[in-house]
């Protein structure tokens, strides 16, 4: 009788452990997601292949890009708002492209960086030569609060994002109150500077 009880208890424990393992098994999305290092604005976030620091976040109704000669181009509009994330990025070991820059909203939507040229996600960074510049996103104004910047590197070998490689996630610190204030004080036009090597 006692052995039967022990066997039943062991069977129940094993079943519970089995259920726990099944539940703890990462989903395919989690398994294939990059390994992200997290941080906040103003702080350098390190990964094995690159470092990133978000220096400033500014929303705007229209933007005006600066060309390589310092001339300011015509204003660009968007159906939503522009979010200009000014950041410093440095490759540490190999050349790096931040082509996987996305803005993830509180609702889980992900906005890819705008296709506007001459932004930080379009340049190839070489190790030891940090670069400062803008990342541009076009999002609905209501999605600004709680937005998180996610940057994945572009893979050399695979011709796409390095989904098995490192990534950075930066909480842009856009609380409801702060985002609301930024939107209220948002300039109608913002001049965006060039990418520059530091």
């Amino acid at each position: 009788m006692r052995r039967t009880l022990v066997a039943a208890a062991v069977a129940a424990a094993l079943f519970a452990a089995n259920v726990a393992v099944q539940r703890a098994t990462p989903s395919p999305d989690q398994r294939y997601a990059p390994i992200a290092s997290r941080g906040g604005t103003g702080h350098q976030v390190d990964t094995t292949t690159f470092q990133l620091r978000v220096d400033r976040v500014q929303p705007a109704r229209t933007i005006r890009m600066t060309d390589p000669y310092g001339l300011v181009r015509e204003p660009r509009s968007t159906p939503g708002i522009w979010v200009v994330v000014s950041a410093t990025v440095a490759a540490t070991t190999e050349t790096f492209q931040a082509q996987g820059a996305r803005l993830r909203t509180r609702a889980g939507l992900e906005y890819e960086a705008s296709s506007v040229l001459d932004t930080l996600d379009k340049v190839t960074l070489q190790p030891g030569i940090p670069v400062y510049g803008p990342l541009l996103f076009e999002i609905p104004a209501r999605d600004l609060a709680g937005a998180v910047l996610s940057v994945t590197r572009h893979a050399d070998g695979a011709g796409g994002l390095d989904v098995l490689g490192p990534a950075v996630e930066v909480d842009l610190g856009l609380s409801d109150a702060y985002a609301s204030r930024l939107l209220k004080e948002m300039p109608s036009s913002l001049t965006v500077g060039q990418v520059r090597e530091l």
């Binding site: 050349t95 070489q126 030891g128 030569i129 070998g157 695979a158 090597e197």
Partner: protein, 188 residues
Amino acid sequence: MTWRRQLAYGLGLLVLVPAVIAAAVLPWREKYEVRSGKGGREVVASQGRAATLDGVEWRLKSITEGRLQEEFSRPLPPRTKIAVVVVSATPRDARASAWFARETGSCKIYAADGAGRVWERSFRTDLAPDSPHAVSCQVLDEDYTLAPVPVGKEHTIQAEYVVPADAFSDLRVEVRLSPDRATVRLAP
């Protein structure tokens, strides 16, 4: 259960657990190497010696400091130098000779330092004067079609890099070949 039986179970577990883990992990290694471009065969040579891979003899000819060629060139990033690298590739047999005319695959030349940092070549045209060297491993004939390099003939390739000034004195070269997944490492 006797202790012998327990020992047998224990030893069985010692074998099975690593085997299961290896079966789950090892298939990812090749995927990782293919996706990241890392791994594969490596040959190494230093002090002016040649490294031979699949019948092609690779040699680092020189690493010299370049300078901007035009007065109004875009300035270099702060605290950087121009590295002008010349590498030679000499086929030693017919198969290696034909390798230079292949239409698929790539041969990328990188600058690297002792700390493991790797730089891609710059495509700026104002970093070095015009040179008699080729810009890639492939050779074009007068009709602009791919041509083999004759056995024993040295094919020289020049590439320019913008690197941090602190890395310049420690530079070496990596030639990465695909789809062979092979790397030739050449040190001065």
